[in-house]
């Protein structure tokens, strides 16, 4: 590889990263702004973080969002895993193509349509919009993502592991819980994380399906911004970014360490 840093290369990298991260950097910087005016720098301060925790509306929305995300991600993971198992294991049942198409359609479905159709459904069955309906909507949205993640793991899963377990005397249910589940667990966990993040930052579907008393954080932030951006919102977003960044960094470090450990073990094993 040519390692010389031409002026062109430097420029394109700076521009590229600026394009990606300048808005976020601005947001973080202004969350520490003393002034109440968002676009005018008035000195360093952390007072907006203090006032954030006294803003009951924002704190309520955060609590709702967290609950919706945890519940919907968990239910979606169970359903998505079952769907993935069915699709990879029972390859010859009638209507399989239709079923797999229907499981994955929400991936490409415009969120507005998903939101609207769910709203119509909830109205039709007379379900009051609120916490339950947002959670149901998020399960619908995130289940297919879980199914995709788990299915890609199941395709490479060595079926002879299950046969070996049964051969050694484990009935099918025991085989599933003692062999299959532990082996595909990393994929299920990443499916859950994906579902959790999707639910956490969904605005469109939540706007359609939520009701009074069940305002999620993205909805709250969006509605407040329409009344004018406050530094409090900047502070809330900065915390969100920090949480997500820390999570991603921890996950990738753990992954890297495990991979490194594994390679070292394998090399050691080859040497005998």
């Amino acid at each position: 590889m040519n390692a010389t840093w031409s002026r062109f290369n430097i420029t394109s990298i700076v521009l590229g990263f600026a394009f990606l991260y300048l808005p976020i950097v601005l947001l973080v910087v202004f969350s520490f702004n003393e002034s109440k005016l968002v676009t005018v720098w008035g000195g360093f301060s952390t007072k907006w973080y203090v006032s954030l925790f006294h803003n009951q509306g924002l704190m309520d929305a955060t609590w709702v969002t967290a609950r919706v995300a945890v519940i919907s991600a968990t239910v979606a993971t169970v359903l998505g895993t079952l769907a993935a198992l069915t699709l990879t294991r029972y390859t010859r049942f009638k209507g399989r193509t239709l079923f797999s198409g229907m499981v994955f359609a929400p991936l490409v479905m415009p969120e507005v349509i998903t939101g609207l159709s769910l709203l119509l459904l909830f109205v039709a069955v007379g379900l009051d919009r609120g916490f339950l309906t947002v959670t149901l909507a998020h399960i619908t949205l995130t289940m297919c993502f879980v199914a995709v993640v788990v299915q890609s793991r199941l395709i490479t899963f060595d079926r002879s592991l299950e046969e070996a377990a049964m051969d050694l005397g484990a009935p099918p249910v025991k085989t599933f819980f003692q062999i299959t589940l532990p082996v595909i667990m990393p994929a299920i966990v990443s499916g859950w994380m994906l579902a959790f993040t999707l639910s956490l930052d969904d605005l469109v579907i939540a706007s359609f399906t939520s009701g009074p008393g069940a305002t999620t954080l993205p909805m709250k932030i969006y509605s407040q911004v329409r009344l004018g951006v406050t530094p409090e919102i900047n502070a809330a977003c900065t915390i969100l970014i920090a949480v997500v960044a820390v999570g991603v960094i921890i996950a990738s470090l753990a992954n890297k360490r495990r991979e490194f450990q594994r390679q070292r073990d394998e090399q050691a094993a080859q040497r005998g």
Partner: protein
């Protein structure tokens, strides 16, 4: 006492009419959709036998093993184990264990937990499990690796763990699917002998599936040669090699020279065969082939002598030209082109370091063999 091959076998229940069969495939057929993997196949295996199913890939040998393990059910026919019909019995209730080609070690468990898995399913008390696992680890010489995970082991070590796990439950029958396929040549040869010793010391019945004829010849008491879902021959390695039942078997196991011809004159097993182009072969192994029958005369390369002059008193001697020579160290292989164009393969053990009258390429040479050296094949 004379016998085929070079081994005397004292364990031979298949020759005893009173011996009780242990595993019986009774007219078994297995179809996958339109494809017939196993076709009306019958086979008998005896207790404590080391039995090999030998065949090219896709011949149905693995399907036989999987039916015995319970992963597939026969479309028709019965499989009996110790007199019990296995139909409908799921894999986890069959007294057989299998060693998988991929080893199928549980990646999230340590070596000792892998070995203990089957014992735990049986609800064996913990101290007994620990004792049995220790015994198994000792058997496969992996005591110091008990706490390792499978990915921390070399290929040979994984193979041993898989073996230990499959014999830990003391199954009535151990099924081995290409057990040595993933090992390199040297390790494979060592492991062959270890497997034989293990089978002897545990007194188990082994059924091994392999496509490697050398592996089957080395390890098995008897070999079943399978082709297109049918048994071509079941016999000891020596019988398969020295008395093949058909052209297919003769060609499948080892190298062979085949002369197609007609029985010109035959009586009491002895016959002369007219192989065309003036070649007449005299043999003592014509069996009951009738005069005029179209037969093949099959003879192994090491039973053919090659010399620069016609050996005195030779019953069968054919002249040709040396066309190719391969010096392999322990032996030399000659390809001799006969005057009718057919190429005969002859091999000579290099028992001495120095050869008095060596042959070279394009030399005229005689190939000769004794009248009992080859066999006559009617099928």
């Amino acid at each position: 006492m004379k016998s085929l091959g070079s081994i005397r076998r004292d364990f031979a229940p298949w020759n005893d009419p009173n011996a009780k069969p242990y595993i019986q495939f009774d007219k078994v057929t297995k179809k996958f959709g339109d494809f017939t993997a196993v076709n009306n196949l019958s086979l008998t295996i005896f207790e404590r036998e080391f039995f090999a199913l030998l065949g090219a890939s896709g011949c149905g040998k693995s399907t036989l093993l999987r039916m015995l393990a319970g992963f597939e059910e026969p479309t028709a026919g019965r499989i009996l184990l110790d007199g019990q019909d296995l139909r409908g019995i799921p894999p986890y209730r069959r007294p057989v264990n299998m060693m998988f080609q991929s080893y199928a070690l549980f990646p999230h468990m340590t070596v000792d937990n892998n070995i203990a898995f089957g014992l735990k399913q049986d609800g064996m008390p913990k101290p007994d499990i620990a004792a049995r696992v220790g015994e198994m680890l000792k058997l496969v010489k992996l005591e110091q690796f008990a706490k390792r995970k499978p990915h921390q082991l070399s290929g040979g070590q994984r193979q041993r763990v898989a073996l230990a796990r499959s014999v830990a439950k003391r199954p009535k029958v151990l099924l081995l699917d290409e057990p040595l396929g993933a090992l390199d040549k040297k390790l494979r040869e060592e492991t062959q002998f270890e497997l034989m010793d293990l089978q002897q010391s545990l007194g188990l019945t082994f059924v091994v599936v392999t496509h490697d004829q050398e592996e089957a010849m080395t390890m098995a008491d008897r070999i079943a040669i399978i082709d297109k879902g049918e048994v071509m021959q079941v016999a000891t390695p020596a019988e398969v090699y020295e008395a093949p039942g058909s052209r297919f078997v003769a060609g499948f196991v080892g190298n062979v020279n085949m002369f197609e011809g007609k029985i010109a004159h035959g009586e009491a097993g002895a016959a002369s065969i007219d192989a065309g182009n003036g070649i007449t072969i005299r043999t003592e192994n014509a069996g009951d082939a009738a005069t005029g029958a179209a037969v093949a005369f099959a003879i192994r390369p090491e039973k053919i002598r090659i010399s620069s002059t016609r050996p005195a008193g030779a019953v069968n001697a054919i002249e040709g030209e040396v066309y190719d020579i391969a010096y392999l160290g322990d032996m030399t292989v000659y390809h001799v082109r006969l005057d009718d164009g057919q190429v005969v393969r002859a091999s000579t053990m290099n028992a001495a370091r120095i050869t008095e009258d060596p042959l070279s390429w394009n030399d005229r040479a005689w190939v000769s063999f004794r009248p009992d050296a080859g066999v006559v094949l009617t099928r």
